[in-house]
Amino acid sequence: MKDAKDRIKTFLSQFFGNHELQEDDDIFAAGFVNSMFAMQLILFIEKEFQVTIENEDLDLDNFRTINAIAHLLERKTTVIAAT
């Protein structure tokens, strides 16, 4: 999961300039959610980690921090492994 967090962080860093993003920083705290960023984030996660983000997963709390995204990925991959 360390690796996944790093990949998420690298993706997010393009939106956060020089600010060093911490794993539990609220990425939506600085400003409002804009549709473009939200969409880019979802598409990145789906493509990078080969998962499908279902409508039920689209809760802001699942995407608020790098840790939250990593947890979501963990849950999704365990479900796949279990079936």
Partner: protein
């Protein structure tokens, strides 16, 4: 009905779908002669007036030409035409790939593009790769302005300024790419000002135009006629709000619309849409937050209808990330509700003006 469609594209395109961008070839299309071979090239008769007329109708224009970029652009500058073409693609790539590049840069579907070229080979290459495109033989240019696809029902104030708005967008994008800092910091440098106002009679043509033109950033795809919109505007059981945005580069024009059905204890957002030019500005979320606050003040529930299509997932995400929850689902239709317990303050990078009656 005049049909200038050539080759394979003939029966594939729905002619009622308006053209948003006309893409021109240069050699033997825009001008007579071949720039890199002939000593001189001459503009085709009436071409300037065609370009200016399309521009005044709010139809964007671009170029695809197999040519030397610098030479072609300096020729266009001499002719005083260079500013009419957005994202010109002057290179040696296939024309279909250049057109896709233009569609992507402007952020429109290829089905709303018309391509003019004198060479059957090029038209066929394009319509083979992009069957939804409208290909036009340069020999038929004199009938172009009469085609139904080139005649929008209304020409709004926004339409007349459309090209200039895109030009300032290009400037914004350049500056954004060069900007060192976070997205939020960049947005702050734009000094944006959003106005949310109840629609007035003058706004209805643009409102109708937005419902027809906007596919991607549209929550339900419901379209309403001028008369229906005029009724909603005056009805006590509806709220028809339009949003316009300005920043230091100029105006984006009217870029958002929301229609709310207002019952005694329940408000339902029937339609929320935004122009794709503002998709990274947070406008949709700000409009939703305005409605949340208002619903809270009026002590009513706030619901929103959503109809999924293959292009509007971004609006589903916008609702979900704004805190709306699905309360009902049938097929591709969803009913959302926001519990109004937690409403974020407005973002500080945008100045907000409300003119709601």
């Amino acid at each position: 009905m005049i049909s200038l469609t050539s080759g394979q594209s003939e029966n594939k395109r729905d002619s009622s779908k308006p053209i948003k961008c006309v893409v021109w070839d240069l050699d033997n299309t825009l001008w007579h002669g071949v720039l890199l071979e002939d000593e001189q090239v001459f503009l085709r008769e009436d071409v300037v007036s065609i370009i200016k007329t399309l521009d005044s109708r709010g139809i964007l224009q671009s170029l695809v030409s197999k040519n030397e970029y610098a030479k072609a652009m300096s020729k266009l500058e001499d002719l005083g035409l260079h500013d009419y073409f957005l994202y010109p693609q002057i290179n040696w790539n296939t024309k279909s790939s250049s057109i896709q590049q233009i569609a992507q840069s402007i952020n429109i579907g290829v089905d709303s593009i018309a391509f003019i070229d004198d060479q059957p080979f090029e038209r066929e290459e394009v319509s083979f790769s992009l069957p939804d495109i409208l290909c036009i033989d340069a020999a038929n240019l004199e009938q172009l302005l009469e085609m139904p696809e080139m005649n929008p029902c209304f020409i709004t104030e926004d339409a007349k300024q459309r090209r200039l708005m895109y030009l300032s967008d290009i400037k914004r994008k350049q500056e954004e790419e060069e900007f060192v800092g976070s997205s939020a910091e960049f947005l702050a440098t734009l000094k944006m000002s959003l106005t949310i106002a109840s629609a007035q009679e003058d706004d209805l043509q643009r409102a109708e135009e937005l419902t027809v033109r906007t596919n991607q950033l549209n929550t339900t795809g419901y379209t309403y006629s001028y008369e229906e919109l005029d009724y909603f505007r005056q009805s006590d059981q509806h709220k028809l709000l339009i949003a316009s945005l300005n920043d230091k580069y100029g105006t984006y024009g009217t870029i958002g619309l929301v229609l709310v059905d207002c019952q005694v204890s329940l408000w339902t957002i029937k339609l929320l849409l935004m122009s794709c030019r503002v998709m990274s500005r947070g406008v949709g979320t700000v409009m939703l937050h305005y409605l949340m606050q208002l619903a809270q003040q009026h002590n009513v529930r706030l619901c929103a209808e959503f109809v999924a299509n293959d292009r509007n997932r971004i609006m589903y995400i916008t609702y979900k990330f704004a805190g709306f929850k699905e309360i009902e689902k049938t097929g591709n239709r969803v009913m959302f509700e926001h519990d109004l317990t937690h409403i974020q303050p407005y973002p500080n990078y945008m100045n907000l003006e409300i003119r709601d009656r």
